[in-house]
Structures are given as structure tokens and as C-alpha cells.
């Protein structure tokens, strides 16, 4: 019983951490491509720099919002599920039969 509860907490913590990490990885790859394309465009045509920069910022924000969704899920896992229930679970574990 204590073992299973410990596993529950451990998995919660792991999920909370890994969620954002993987999402950040994907977002970073995507944003890198966007940045590279924007820089190439500016290098080709410096007078279009303003428009390209605007479009780049929009694209960056859209990609980043996906990582933010993952962050939100992570926060929910950690603070809404993990934190309130966590110490109750720990108390249960401490009083549970071994």
C-alpha cells in the first residue's frame, strides 16, 4: 500500500516535470526553423525586414502557445493534484501497514 502510494507520487512528479520538457523541445525545434527562415528572408531583402519581423513574431507566439498549453497541464498536475493531495498521501503512507 505504501509502495503503491509512493509510486503514485513519484509518477505525478515525473509527469509534472517531463511534460514541459518535451513540449519545450518540440517548440524550440519549431521556433528555430522559423527564426532561420526569417533571418534568411531578411538577409535576402533587408528592406522587407519590418514585415518579416512582424510575421516572425506572430509565428513564434503561435508555436510558443503550444508549449504554454503543456506548461498549464504541468501546473495543474503539480499544484492541483500533486500538492493538495500529496501530503495527505504522505500521511496515509506513514500510517499505512507496511
Amino acid at each position: 500500500m505504501a509502495g503503491a502510494l509512493g509510486l503514485y507520487l513519484a509518477l505525478l512528479a515525473f509527469a509534472g516535470g517531463m511534460g514541459v520538457s518535451i513540449a519545450a523541445l518540440g517548440a524550440a525545434l519549431g521556433q528555430g526553423k522559423v527564426g532561420a527562415a526569417a533571418l534568411e528572408g531578411i538577409a535576402r531583402q533587408p528592406e522587407a525586414a519590418g514585415r518579416i519581423q512582424t510575421a516572425m513574431i506572430i509565428a513564434l507566439a503561435l508555436i510558443e502557445s503550444l508549449a504554454i498549453y503543456a506548461l498549464l497541464v504541468s501546473l495543474i498536475i503539480l499544484f492541483v493534484i500533486g500538492l493538495p493531495k500529496g501530503s495527505e498521501v504522505i500521511q496515509l503512507m506513514q500510517s499505512a501497514p507496511r
Binding site: E47, A48, G50, R51, T54, A55, I57, I58, A59, A61, L62, E64, S65, I68, Y69, L71, L72, L75, I76, F79, V80, L83, P84, S87, E88, Q91
Partner: protein, 457 residues
């Protein structure tokens, strides 16, 4: 340029930016957000933090390092130990997040910020404490230690000695209040839960994890106050700056004209020739969101946008307005055909996809703005806590994050308003019919409109 006044302003700004983490502890997060589900939730209104018996306010300092710390993590600490009482978990998330929300305003916070003098706060508190209040608890046990059913105790008025543990007066004062008992849960006495003993109907009842909510204090939640103040501030500032408009502009007027021309340019580029109608909405959204995001940087305040309700409200307004404009410009049939898409016989497939896409826009706008601003707040709070743990609170570890927060505020405000323009453009361009494939990437839709891209201003 470096007049004494601007120099003083710069020094003050630098001082605020580099404020030691220790000083932030007083304005630790307790700030406004998530709808309080139960009166017991320590969300923002004043003093509804859990009542501590005796003086064990700082129990559990182990996680916060040296004893001098108290709470940057005052909010963090509280949430750590009050979750037993508060059924509203959503509030805990917001506790972390609102960063340095707190006592800036006299209407709401029980967290006295170091900037508010006690002479202002104390009479206010006396006013709050004299008003109606609710005492809720996680559980109730009688003198023998057996749990009592909470229903029997509800709506009784008791006399309670409330310890104001957020006060800066030493020793922390106790006030005698007469709260009405609210919901009482089913918790039993666990080691480590806080208890208070009250006398109800002559019998001694021990309440487990009690919390007090003051009606007057929760009438002005911080969220509401700050967003109203922001709106009023913007209105006032613009009003004052447009009093004497002249053809040859003064410096103030030039600033306003630069802002206006900037908005005019980019909205024109995104929407097209019928853009004038939408300019006020987009400009307002940009400035309002920007100011609300920046409000979190002022010590003692929190960004209203760090609460999910504010971006949600804005996103709902934007999407509903876009639907309304779609119907107004294209007619009801045209609006529905927009959903049906290009080959009409793929309609049954396209219609649900587009409809869900519209709903998804609400979600994505909300979560993008909320997640960015709230995430920044969380990072700042955690850095303050770290600074407290390792440097006894003197090193401003959170300072670089403030710069990122300022940058993020601008970028997110801009993205919100640009997406508003783009949604409007998608819905109201009727010159080309549905020739341009509306892919689900807005960029595509914008540049196929047949309008010149944003003019280089």
C-alpha cells in the same frame, strides 16, 4: 533629458527592479484569482488565511531555510499548509502565480505590503473585522475527540478570537469577531492540522483547519480593483493628453500620434480597406492588455491577466464580436457558407471542423495570454523563494526575470491584438469570396487577401 525628476524616476525604477528578495516576501502571492469555490479558500480577500492556533505561524520552515525568512513563500507556505482546509484547489495555483500581488491596495489584501502604513491598514481591518464574516473548517471534533457532523453547526454565530498573523505589529494582535459558521467538512484530527476551539451552544467544539472569510474584504477582490484601476488610468491619461489638440503637435501629442499611426498601419495591413471600424477595438485590446500585464511589475500589485478569467473574458468577447461581424458583413447565409467551405459537398466535413476551430480560438487566445503571464509570475515567485533559501533573502535573484516579464508583456499584448485582426480579416474579407483556401494557418489567409501587406511605416 537627465533632469532631476527623470533621474529620480530612473533611480526609483532601478531600486524597484533590484529590490532584494527579502522585501518581496511581504508582498508574497496571495493574489487574486480563481473563483473561490468555498468561503474557506484563501484566495484573496483579506484575512481568509487560516487561523493559526497559538503562535505556530511559521511551522514547517524547513522547506524555506533560515528562520528569518517567513514567507516569500508566505503564500507558498500558506498554501502548503492550508490545503487541508481549503477545498478550492484552484486557488492554490493562483497563490503561487500572482507573484507579488498583495497589499498594494487598501481594499483587499490581508498581506500588508511594506509600502502601506499601518495607520491606513489598521482602521480598515477594524472595519472589516466588525463586519460579517464566515468561519469554515475542515472538520469539527467535540471535546472528547469524536467527529461532529458539520451540518448541525452551520449558521450559528460564535465568538471567535482571530489572530491576525499577517499583521506587522508585534506581537500579532487578536481580534474578537463574531463569525457565522459556514461549511464544515469531515476531516478528523491529524497530527499537524491546525485547530481552534470555540464554544457553540455551551459545548466546546474544536475546529480542524479553520479559515475565516470577511465579507467586506472579499467584496473588492484584487483582480477587480486592479483591472478597473488600469482601465480608468488609461482613460484618464488619454483624456488629459488630448485636451488641447493642435495642428502642430506638442510633444505629448506627437507621442499619441506615433502610437495611433502605428496601430493604423498594422491594422490596415492586416485587415484591408475596411479596417477603420475595427481600429478602436484592436487598439484598446492592445493597450489594455499591455497595461494589465505590466501591472504585475509594480510592487504590491498583480497582473489581472495572471488570473485565467481575465484573458478568458477578453477572448470570448473577441470571438463573439468576430462572429457578429461575420454575420453583419456577410449576411447569415454567407456566414454559414464560410463555415461550409469551398466544395459545398464537403460541407458536412468542413462545418464541424470550422466550428470547433472557432471554439479552439477562444481557448488558444486565453491560454496563450494566461500561460505566458502566469508562468512569468510563477518563475519570479520561485526565484524569490530560492533567493530566500540560499541567500537569506538579500540577493535579488528575480531581477533578470522582470526584464523578461516586461518583454513578454509587450509581445503577448501584440500577439493578442494581431490575432484579433487576423480573425476579423478572415471573417470579413468578401471581395475574393472563398477563393483563398482557408487553411488553418492564419498567415496564409492574410497574405492571400489581395491587399498589400503592412506598409512599411
Amino acid at each position: 533629458m537627465t533632469t532631476p525628476l527623470s533621474l529620480a524616476a530612473m533611480v526609483l525604477a532601478a531600486g524597484v527592479w533590484l529590490m532584494p528578495a527579502r522585501a518581496q516576501e511581504h508582498s508574497a502571492p496571495a493574489a487574486g484569482t480563481a473563483p473561490a469555490t468555498a468561503p474557506a479558500t484563501g484566495e484573496h480577500g483579506a484575512a481568509d488565511a487560516p487561523v493559526q492556533s497559538g503562535g505556530d505561524h511559521n511551522d514547517g520552515p524547513k522547506e524555506h531555510g533560515p528562520a528569518g525568512q517567513g514567507a516569500p513563500a508566505g503564500g507558498l507556505h500558506e498554501t502548503g499548509t492550508t490545503h487541508e482546509a481549503a477545498p478550492g484547489h484552484g486557488a492554490e495555483v493562483s497563490h503561487e502565480g500572482a507573484g507579488h500581488g498583495a497589499g498594494g491596495h487598501e481594499e483587499e489584501h490581508e498581506e500588508v505590503s511594506i509600502h502601506l502604513p499601518t495607520w491606513l491598514y489598521t482602521p480598515l481591518k477594524n472595519f472589516w473585522y466588525a463586519g460579517p464574516s464566515t468561519l469554515s473548517a475542515g472538520g469539527a471534533v467535540n471535546a472528547a475527540g469524536e467527529p461532529i457532523d458539520g451540518k448541525a453547526l452551520e449558521n450559528k454565530t460564535v465568538e471567535f478570537s482571530y489572530l491576525d498573523h499577517h499583521s506587522l505589529i508585534k506581537p500579532k494582535p487578536r481580534y474578537t469577531i463574531h463569525p457565522v459558521i459556514g461549511t464544515i467538512g469531515k476531516q478528523t484530527l491529524n497530527p499537524g492540522s491546525k485547530t481552534e476551539t470555540v464554544t457553540i451552544d455551551g459545548a466546546e467544539v474544536t475546529l480542524v483547519n479553520p479559515t475565516v472569510t470577511f465579507a467586506y474584504a472579499s467584496m473588492f477582490p484584487e483582480l477587480w480593483v486592479i483591472s478597473m484601476l488600469t482601465a480608468l488610468g488609461i482613460a484618464l491619461a488619454t483624456f488629459l493628453m488630448t485636451r488641447k489638440l493642435e495642428r502642430i503637435p506638442s510633444r505629448k501629442q506627437t507621442l499619441l500620434e506615433i502610437l495611433y499611426t502605428y496601430f493604423d498601419g498594422f491594422v490596415h495591413g492586416l485587415i484591408g480597406d475596411h479596417y477603420k471600424r475595427y481600429l478602436p477595438l484592436v487598439g484598446t485590446i492592445y493597450i489594455y492588455v499591455l497595461m494589465m500585464n505590466l501591472a504585475g511589475i509594480i510592487p504590491g500589485w498583480a497582473s489581472p491577466t495572471a488570473n485565467i478569467n481575465v484573458p478568458a473574458g477578453l477572448a470570448i468577447v473577441v470571438v463573439l464580436y468576430v462572429q457578429y461581424e461575420g454575420i453583419r458583413v456577410n449576411g447569415l447565409k454567407g456566414y454559414l457558407m464560410h463555415f461550409v467551405g469551398d466544395p459545398w459537398w464537403l460541407g458536412p466535413l468542413n462545418f464541424p471542423i470550422h466550428a470547433v476551430g472557432e471554439v479552439a480560438r477562444v481557448l488558444s487566445l486565453t491560454i496563450r495570454l494566461f500561460g505566458n503571464i502566469f508562468g512569468e509570475d510563477v518563475v519570479i515567485v520561485i526565484l524569490i523563494m530560492l533567493a530566500g533559501m540560499f541567500t537569506k533573502g538579500w540577493f535579488p535573484l528575480q531581477a533578470p526575470m522582470y526584464l523578461l516579464a516586461i518583454f513578454t508583456s509587450f509581445v503577448q499584448a501584440m500577439v493578442f491584438s494581431i490575432l484579433t485582426c487576423v480573425y476579423i480579416a478572415l471573417m470579413t474579407t468578401h471581395e475574393e469570396g472563398h477563393g483563398h483556401g482557408h487553411g488553418h494557418d492564419e498567415e496564409h489567409g492574410v497574405y492571400h487577401d489581395g491587399h498589400a501587406p503592412a506598409p512599411a511605416v
